[in-house]
Symmetry: D2
Subunit: 245 residues, 4 copies
């Protein structure tokens, strides 16, 4: 069965041409780089992109019906995302669609909606070296991933990261300045799987890095829905319905 992936990006840094490095780091935009990495590593997948600027942000009911796993990159335009679209994405996740939330997407409406917390954190943008350490060596997401991943220059994200206790803690990062961050965490919400992964930023070519692309590809495979997606619903069964039924 073909795996259908949609990479969503607010696509504002790209359109603004800010930072200027975007032109060389991400000539096709961050969504373009992420999608290219997934196509390379998941040759059986159909990978499309969608952006804030499209009608319904490119996330129509039809697109989501045809999406097994959605990736979400947002930063400076979280507030421009229509609440009705957030409702729609949340419902699909609870019904079984996988979701990967990337980097500054920690403050996206959809992530805060699914977490219930502020999702706040510490940050500092000085191009520090990030080391991404595996703490769950048996997890599908770390298949073929070196330990640690070395990201030469990156924005620092530090604790306290205000998220619910993760179902699984997969990666912990450290930065040159000594801060640490739970940089790869998983959750199940309803019938859907959610993976938050922090490495990746508009100022650095992190999504061009092979190991980072592999984490995303593994994450997509891990988050893919099982057959029979459906939203959990309230029901009022008779006694012994399970015997009769």
């Amino acid at each position: 069965m073909t795996l259908r992936v949609t990479v969503w990006n607010e696509n504002v840094h790209e359109q603004n041409g800010s930072p200027a490095s975007m032109a060389t780091d991400y000539p096709e935009g961050m969504h373009g780089a992420i999608a290219a990495g997934l196509r390379r590593l998941l040759p059986d997948a159909e990978v499309r992109t969608a952006t804030l600027q499209e009608p319904e942000h490119g996330l129509t009911a039809e697109v989501l019906d045809a999406t097994d796993v959605l990736l979400w990159w947002g930063h400076i335009a979280h507030e421009q995302v229509d609440d009705a679209i957030v409702d729609r994405v949340q419902e699909r996740v609870l019904g079984g669609m996988g979701l990967l939330v990337l980097h500054s997407g920690h403050f996206s409406k959809i992530f805060k909606r699914l977490m219930g917390t502020t999702c706040s954190l510490k940050w500092r943008n000085e191009g520090e070296r990030e080391l991404v350490w595996t703490v769950a060596p048996r997890h599908e997401i770390v298949d073929g991933i070196p330990n640690p991943i070395v990201v030469p220059a990156q924005e620092m994200y530090g604790e306290f990261f205000d998220i619910p206790e993760p179902d699984e803690l997969v990666f912990i990062s450290s930065f040159t300045g000594g801060e640490v961050f739970r940089s790869g965490v998983t959750y199940t919400r309803g019938a859907g799987r959610v993976f938050y992964f922090s490495p990746g930023d508009q100022d650095y070519p992190v999504y061009q890095q092979d190991e980072i692309q592999r984490v995303l590809a593994n994450g997509v495979r891990w988050a893919a829905p099982r057959a029979g997606r459906s939203l959990p619903e309230v029901s009022n069964p008779q006694r012994d319905w399970f015997v009769a039924g």
Copy 2:
């Protein structure tokens, strides 16, 4: 330090006089019975009540400032709760206020907001016997609680209960019909503790039962905030701020 508790009830069954048994089961309303139980078992606490019908539903900023732990009972009027009040309560919980969500409160706006899921479940109202089994014997919430608690007649709540994997699973209930339910679950959200406890219904005098009152009193103590409540906030520290600071 005095523990300050607010018992919130939508107070609609009480005002409607429906069911009729309310008049004998809960002459002071369910909030009245719950508050009386807490006063009996937590003599050092200040226990007040608040209801939907009061201005700002009785949950003004002043009331919440003076509330260490909030209990929430709602059923048929969830949609009448003002979103601005829900925002306020959520912010207080993330900042450290304890929250106990009771029975049909699983569908309250505040609980769905903190969980991120549908919070749906199975139900059947035939007065079945509920057995509430302890599966976390070391937990503060089960101090002095018999195992199982026998609730002679109760509405059935059954799995699948669409909640995030709990931080701690404290109670599992079974019902005459054979269904099971994760009837006592805990979460931390931000700096606040949340305890959902399902036994208790407008049709049965469950909140008059000594063991049930004890669970609520233990839950209040467990959820009480530590000193220094504050909402986790984003920050942008200098390198080595922790050495200088």
Copy 3:
């Protein structure tokens, strides 16, 4: 890659002819029935059996080297299992071999070794109906499994079950008498996955039931090791070994 499965049984009820129903319920022994179910549902797997009575209990280094997932059934002969074999099995699990522990195997040396607790529980053998409810609908182990599974007659296992907090709680059972039990729980230990599943007993033909066989087949697939099995080992790296290496 062929999945290599070994079904281990102490094989004492079978040899004793006790209970007498064993002859009709399990003409090939419980291990025979379990292995037949796995062969039916995992046609790509190589399934062998091993028993207590064989040299080294049938669990030589060679057999374990060629085992991806081991299933363990024991009851009245736990103490006859050689500690050196338990050491060997534990080391393989920590190195990545999957382990399914069945029913009364909760008191086996290997399970207690991996859990660190007494693994005690309540029990009563009166042929009660067991209902096995799914509480993790997204889990691989419940693929294609009805909710609930109805086991017409079974020994009751009840809480408190003295195990560590599971990584994932997959099934909760209820019994005619009203007791509940965490009947399907998962753990990761080292690089290995462990699944404990309680339905199944020498007195009842539970392992002949299609749904039960499906749970075991799903469990085997879930517990199968990833490439590169190895025991986590202490190391003393140089500074920046990860950059040089």
Copy 4:
């Protein structure tokens, strides 16, 4: 009720006079320093010490009967600890006694027994700066603890730390070399609470540091047993014993 604490130390570095810094860093031994810190911060507690060299390693049944929380420091003499004493300590923990395992105690028999894993890790002893970051700000163990704790010079302990997924992850450390470590983790085993805390080493005066002493004092309070300690035991109840009983 007086809290009764026993600080256990293998006391071999102390007796060997190796390292030489021990004489100035820990004139009363590490157990002496730890006990002094607890006496200072828990004035209501009775704190005693016990060492490997005493009869029954100072952990007689009488001592353990009178111990609410045991702290364990060991390093080069793990193998000299008698298995019968380890059995005894494990039984007490499962019955409700609290246990704090310190630093190189990760390789002690008692910790490996309770975890079921190898408990291996990375290490490097070059006096690196350790930063101990709080990731569970609501936890009792972090009350009054600065974030981060700065340990000027310490042995590096790094991931992968082969432990079961913790019940609660309280602290993550980073080191000058960039490694990270889950340096404060909690577990419940049976009726007992276990806290592993890694900062502290024979080569550095870490246990003289106020913040480290506070973590230990908080940990002792958190791990203290509730009333009615007893080992979980198998039982064979009649139907409806809970109604009659």
